[in-house]
């Protein structure tokens, strides 16, 4: 079965999204919609051009490069990152990082405990010193500080 060329998916998606953007922009005030329309109008046309060109290219040459090199590893990293972002809110930055770095390293195939622990500790120390101590940037509160404070 012949799959759809990446450019066809890209161009069509961009054209549809830009058209929806135009629909929304028409609801803005007279002045506020000028620039969005100047940007989104050509985006629809370029999206269609890229889609048609991709279709013709595939028809002529049969060329269609794979999108993912390894879907499993892509979803593994994207999934762990999404989990880390959820964890950030409940566990705090340092705790989340202390869990994410070893977990992702091991699942990606690196199994040497000492370098993993040393690098994780070094990274946490750097963040703590530069962001928290020197520049006083408040990071998401750590779970242990909330438990201790209640």
């Amino acid at each position: 079965m012949k799959s759809i060329h990446n450019d066809v998916v890209l161009g069509t998606s961009v054209a549809i999204l830009a058209a929806l953007g135009i629909h929304r922009a028409l609801g803005f005030g007279a002045d506020a919609r000028v620039f969005p329309l100047l940007v989104l109008g050509p985006a629809v046309l370029l999206g269609l051009l890229i889609a048609v060109r991709g279709y013709l290219k595939q028809t002529r040459t049969g060329d269609n490069p794979d999108f993912f090199a390894s879907p499993g590893r892509f979803f593994l990293v994207a999934g762990v990152m999404a989990l880390a972002l959820i964890g950030l809110k409940y566990l705090g930055f340092l705790t989340t990082s202390a869990l994410t770095v070893p977990l992702l390293s091991v699942t990606l195939g690196y199994r040497r405990a000492l370098p993993i622990l040393a690098t994780t500790a070094g990274f946490l120390a750097m963040v703590y010193i530069v962001f928290i101590q020197i520049l006083s940037r408040p990071l998401p509160a750590e779970i242990w500080t909330r438990l201790g404070g209640s």
Binding site: F35, L46, L49, A69, L88, K89, L108, V130, F131, R137
Partner: protein, 501 residues
């Protein structure tokens, strides 16, 4: 003699021990801050400003000059090593810096970035010393219509030259302009494309976009290739520093153009060093005998980008000190620093506090000079060790660093999710051959272009078409046509001739 006597008068105060210490400390802090995504020179000067209340004004300004110049170089370090621009100005440095690092020449790439940054900063300081009052008048000649065309010129040039595929380059630029218009519109404050999210009303911060777009896709791509990545380490290939110094004449032509762009754009309020590096890179690529090698690890690309974004450093301060109009956010914070110490920017500053303002100009020069030993011996060697970390361990570290970088912009978890979203967008763009650079430039220039377009239309009360009839506008339009239309036509003619031959 009139020019040099105030500089010579100010020199002894600059060379005192506390002053030198403040400059060295400032440069070190700047390099560290610049190398961490999410932390900018503006933010660190603002955070450290209260510490300077009790200091002598010149010592305080020396520290600010050091942080400013240090951070502008520091941004190149993660740009080269990890493809994460530490500062928005370092986006262009990723184009050739990262491929060069991948080829095992990270040390060399860092040396080129360091020398270009240092010389760019020094030349910018010289422009400030020599030409501050006359150059500040240029600022006054550029009204909204002229600034609008400067922005359009930058967008068009970059979309045409950076993408190998013109429709995709242009589409990327439009995506950037679209992202740049999310939030309240710049003139009437109409809510646009925020979908009811309060966090989006102030717009999308360039740091959040930049970290997502540039840091996350390489992590995903590296992870997809872990078979090669496990245990793989990249060579640093430091060559003797003197050998790199001897290569400097090779970059003179590129640096000259970057210098011109840096001074010109630096003077325009709202335009920034990030824009200069795009223009300088595009010019370097156009001048090169081997333009195909740009984006694949050509050191000339790093030289253009880093010299360009540092050439704007002191130039952006010229309208600040002479007219009291800050040309960039960091200039605004430095202006705050001047005011805190009782120094009122404007023409009187040169009469009433000549020692301090000329001393500050010397400090801008010296902190760029100090950058060479400090950046070369300390920072470059230290940070370059990052590449020795095995990739499966480097991937989560980059992800965590990106998270903290995005979070620190506004202390917002929403920004972190936004960064993740931009990361996925960057991955899709990378896989479908859409160039990333025009997106970043669109976000940087979009608000500038739109607000100046709308101000121009408001100013055109007598329907004189001021966007097209003012002399500087006409020159800029001619340049725009020459830059964007002629090269593709010329390329087509050459290809046709080659086919016929």
């Amino acid at each position: 003699m009139d020019l040099f006597s105030p500089l010579l008068d100010a020199l002894p105060a600059v060379l005192t021990f506390p002053n030198l210490l403040a400059m060295v400390g400032g440069v070190l802090v700047g390099i560290v801050v610049g190398s961490l995504p999410g932390l900018t020179a503006t933010m660190s000067i603002a955070v450290l400003l209260p510490l300077t209340f009790t200091m002598d004004p010149l010592v305080a300004l020396g520290m600010m000059a050091g942080i400013y110049n240090g951070a502008m170089y520091g941004g190149a370090i993660p740009a080269i090593l990890l493809r994460i621009p530490g500062t928005p100005a370092a986006i262009v440095t990723t184009f050739d810096g990262y491929p060069l690092a991948q080829q095992g020449r990270a040390g060399y790439a860092l040396q080129i970035a360091l020398l270009s940054s240092a010389f760019g900063g020094m030349m910018s300081a010289i422009a400030m010393m020599v030409l501050a009052p006359p150059l500040s008048l240029v600022t006054l000649a550029f009204g909204p219509p002229e600034v609008f065309w400067v922005g359009i010129f930058g967008m068009a040039a970059v979309a045409v030259f950076l993408g190998e595929d013109l429709p995709k380059g242009m589409l990327s630029a439009l995506i950037g302009l679209f992202i740049g218009m999310v939030g309240l519109d710049p003139v009437m404050s109409t809510d646009r494309f925020t979908f009811g999210q309060l966090e989006l009303e102030s717009g999308i911060d360039i740091v959040v976009l930049m970290v997502g777009l540039y840091a996350i896709p390489p992590c995903l791509e590296m992870a997809e290739d872990t078979a090669r990545a496990v245990g793989a380490r990249i060579r640093l290939d430091f060559q003797p520093f003197l050998k790199t110094m001897r290569e400097i004449p090779r970059y003179f032509r590129i640096w000259s153009w970057a210098y011109f762009y840096g001074i010109f754009v630096g003077l325009l309020p709202g335009a920034s060093g990030s824009f200069v590096s795009f223009l300088a890179y595009e010019r370097a690529k156009r001048m090169s005998k081997d333009p195909e090698s740009f984006g694949k690890g050509n050191p000339e690309g790093i030289a253009a980008s880093e010299f360009g974004n540092n050439a704007d450093n002191a130039a952006a301060l010229i309208p600040t000190v002479t007219l009291g109009i800050p040309g960039s956010s960091v200039a605004a914070v430095i202006m705050g620093g001047l005011l805190v110490h009782g120094l009122q920017p404007g023409p009187d500053l040169f009469r009433n506090s000549a020692d301090i303002i000329y001393g500050f100009m010397i400090q801008m020069f010296l902190t760029s000079l100090i950058l060479i030993p400090l950046g070369g011996s300390f920072a470059t060697n230290l940070f370059a060790q990052v590449l020795r970390i095995p990739r499966p361990l480097l991937i989560p570290l980059i992800i965590c660093l990106s998270i903290v970088g995005a979070y620190c912009v506004q202390n917002s978890l929403f920004d972190v999710w936004l960064m993740f979203g931009f990361g996925l967008l960057g991955y899709v763009m990378s896989k479908t051959g859409l160039p990333l650079a025009p997106v970043a430039l669109g976000v940087i220039l979009g608000p500038l272009i739109e607000s100046n377009l709308r101000l121009s239309l408001l100013l055109d009360v007598r329907n004189e078409h001021i966007l097209f009839t003012r002399p500087i506008c006409m020159v800029l339009i001619a340049l725009l046509v020459l830059t964007t239309v002629l090269p593709p036509v010329w390329k087509h003619i050459r290809a046709r001739r080659a086919r016929q031959a």
